[in-house]
């Protein structure tokens, strides 16, 4: 039953400072899809990356201090 909503997670590389709060809350309360990547953000922090299906809980958006992560519902056609 594929009625679950789909979400696209976007990280703004220019503004993310790599504080990894999003990864932490995703791990503890969300879909456990945000991970530390091996890349750096423009500001030199560890860049988070979304792997897997976001459940749209938006905790990452609530805790992001830099408005650098965005969860967008994908309304497929």
């Amino acid at each position: 039953m594929d009625t679950a909503k789909k979400f696209r997670v976007t990280i703004d590389e220019e503004q993310c400072k790599g504080c990894l709060l999003c990864v932490h809350v995703c791990e503890n309360r969300g879909g456990k899809i945000l991970k530390e990547s091996d890349k750096k953000t423009a500001l030199g922090g560890v860049k988070p990356v979304a792997e897997g299906d976001c459940i749209g809980c938006r905790w990452c958006e609530r805790y992001c201090p830099d408005f650098a992560i965005n969860v967008e519902e994908i309304k497929d056609a």
């Binding site: 503004q15 504080c19 990894l20 709060l21 932490h24 992001c64 201090p65 408005f67 969860v71």
Partner: protein, 336 residues
């Protein structure tokens, strides 16, 4: 459901902010913007006033509305002038624990006494963070800072009680861990007519590393301090399932953990504002307290509520509001 870029594009002026990675200031701005958006407030009628210190940068220049970035400790006094002259301005003051309750303490208690309709968000990172981590009126007794290398000789204010006693008609306390409750509380404050005060315990990876003696990389601190806030707080009025205790270690917490686990009890190390690093044991207290106290590396077994900081609503009442009284005066003076 609005996404974060909606709030950013509509309410945030310049990014990236000057805050350190993982600073609580950004989270508070996040909650504030959601609150004003949820209430559909007219952005042109919001005035954000701030003093000097990291907190002052939450609105200035990040907030895309009128901002008044004033002198250290005086934001509330500046805000009083603007609000008294133009009561239609929804006037929000962002101040720190030092800025608001240290040098600004006199203005804080008098504005509360007047019950002027200001919304004051006092961000408490328990130190003068921007200037390097000096003791603040909120720093706990005994804590080491750059100005208390031998332990803080002073005791902190209980700011919510102070402001409540001074006459504030809405007083709440939350932390950057409690983002939903904080957003809701800011909305309540925005709708409350009178001196509305919210103290927000906020993580400061840069300075609290020393204050709470958190060993580990700077990178690891933001999530860790947030969890510490979650661990070290209790919410007024919420049912409290107290089925856990803390084993306070003599020295090395990992030694204590090993000893607890050797009893076949599942446990984990957590950071606790009151005790530092402790071993949390999620078992019925009666069943484990004696066994834990017997362990050589345990000095003390604390009840789950001990030395926790109370969050929640401390005051909400209606009282004559100052700018209303000023309007009355004008009517009286004109014989209306």
């Amino acid at each position: 459901m609005k996404n974060l870029f909606y709030y950013r594009d509509k309410y945030v002026r310049s990014q990236p902010s000057a805050f350190c990675p993982g600073c609580g200031g950004g989270i508070i701005l996040n909650c504030f913007l959601r609150a004003i958006d949820d209430l559909g407030l007219d952005l042109d009628k919001i005035l954000a006033v701030s003093g000097i210190g990291c907190t002052a940068w939450i609105p200035s220049p990040n907030f895309n509305g009128d901002t008044l970035h004033t002198t250290h400790g005086r934001a509330i006094a500046f805000a009083t002038g603007a609000k008294a002259y133009n009561p239609d301005l929804t006037t929000v003051v962002f101040t720190g624990d030092g800025d608001g309750a240290g040098i600004g303490g006199n203005h804080l208690i008098h504005a509360a006494r007047r019950n002027i309709d200001l919304k004051v968000i006092l961000v408490n990172n328990m130190s003068y963070a921007m200037t390097g981590g000096q003791i603040a009126p909120t720093t706990l007794h005994g804590e080491t800072t750059v100005t208390s290398p031998y332990g803080n000789p002073e005791f902190p204010f209980d700011i919510t009680q102070l402001v409540k006693a001074a006459g504030a008609s809405y007083v709440a306390k939350w932390s950057t861990y409690h983002v939903l409750e904080l957003t809701r509380s800011i909305k309540e404050a925005l709708q409350h007519k009178g001196f509305s005060f919210i103290e927000v315990l906020s993580q400061c990876p840069t300075q609290q590393r020393r204050i709470f003696n958190l060993r580990g990389t700077l990178q690891s601190l933001p999530p860790r301090i947030l969890d510490m806030f979650g661990e070290s707080t209790v919410i007024r009025g919420r049912p409290d399932k107290g089925d856990y205790v803390y084993a306070v270690p003599k020295e090395d917490v990992s030694e204590t953990l090993k000893q607890v686990e050797s009893l076949g009890i599942s446990a984990r190390v957590v950071d606790h504002i009151g005790f530092g690093q402790v071993v949390r044991v999620d078992e019925e207290p009666e069943s484990v307290k004696a066994k834990l106290e017997a362990l050589s590396s345990v000095t003390y077994v604390a009840d789950h509520k001990e030395s926790k900081i109370e969050m929640g609503l401390f005051e909400k009442k209606s009282r004559p509001e100052f700018t209303d009284s000023l309007k009355e005066i004008i009517k009286k003076a004109r014989g209306e």
